[in-house]
Amino acid sequence: MNSDKSSHEHDDIGCLEAIEAFYTYLDGELSDPQAIADFEHHMSHCRSCFSRAEVERLLNRRMRETGTSKAPDELRSRVRRLLDEF
């Protein structure tokens, strides 16, 4: 958080700005502490954005659960043979 703001002061960023920061925040890519604090403050009092964020988190989890592939054993064997030849 910026030194010129107390822990109780946040910009009221509004829903459009919150939506702009939605995925960078949820994906752990929002690095500025003040931006994180402002986003979280908005989430704390905006029911719509909080609800969207919850659903996006759920969707992220479902994507990871169902989208992850397992390499076939045949491919693993093929690549191991390749590695042995290097």
Binding site: I19, R52, G67, V79, L83
Partner: protein, 201 residues
């Protein structure tokens, strides 16, 4: 252990650790299991041939994904049956607000108060189908970040674009995905119509 042995041990370990992610990405690029396996095998060979270009071992993952992506572009893409890049890709620099303005009001109301039950009941296959129907650039970016776990910077290295482009693609792609899921929900009768106060009717 010689320096070459150390390098080979490092390379083998990293390839083994990345195998599932490489195969998953190859499947999304090539579209079939057999082609995906060929693509991974070719990429591993090319990666070993180019190992001297890896300047920082901590960057192995985006480096090898980048080789896989380039292999696909150079050899497989001509035969692929993916839809053409969307016009949205050409307008990445435009704001999300413009995209939101293109969405039906009913979608925006629903998105502000989506039914958690719908997402809980939605089959994983339906979610993946919605992702697979996105334009290539959004589909690949979302898959690299949200499924394979790459950072935005890593995804940018893989796809050869600026990190800001990844941020833009994530916003636009995820908004398009939400819209596709909303349409699926409507088609299945699962999405209730909400009034302007967010109350389900």
């Amino acid at each position: 252990m010689t320096e070459d042995d150390d390098l080979k041990t490092f390379f083998s370990r990293e390839i083994e650790a990345s195998m599932d992610n490489l195969y998953g990405t190859a499947m999304r690029l090539a579209g079939s299991g057999a082609d995906a396996e060929d693509l991974v095998a070719e990429s591993v060979s090319k990666a070993w041939s180019a190992i001297e270009t890896l300047q920082d071992r901590r960057s192995f993952r985006p480096w090898v994904f980048r080789i896989l992506h380039n292999c696909f572009i150079s050899k497989y893409r001509r035969d692929a049956v993916r839809p053409a890049e969307s016009r949205l890709e050409e307008n990445d620099e435009e704001g999300l607000a413009a995209l939101l303005n293109e969405q039906p009001d009913e979608f925006l109301v629903w998105w502000a108060n989506p039914e958690r039950q719908f997402f809980n009941s939605m089959l994983g296959s339906a979610i993946m189908a919605a992702i697979n129907n996105l334009p290539d650039s959004f589909r690949l970016t979302i898959a690299l970040v949200n499924i394979e776990g790459l950072t935005y910077d890593e995804a940018a290295q893989v796809l050869g674009v600026a990190p800001g482009t990844i941020r833009s693609r994530m916003k636009r792609g995820r908004t398009l995905l939400q819209k596709a899921l909303w349409q699926q929900a409507r088609d299945a009768g699962l999405a209730a119509t909400n009034d302007n106060n967010g109350n389900a009717e």
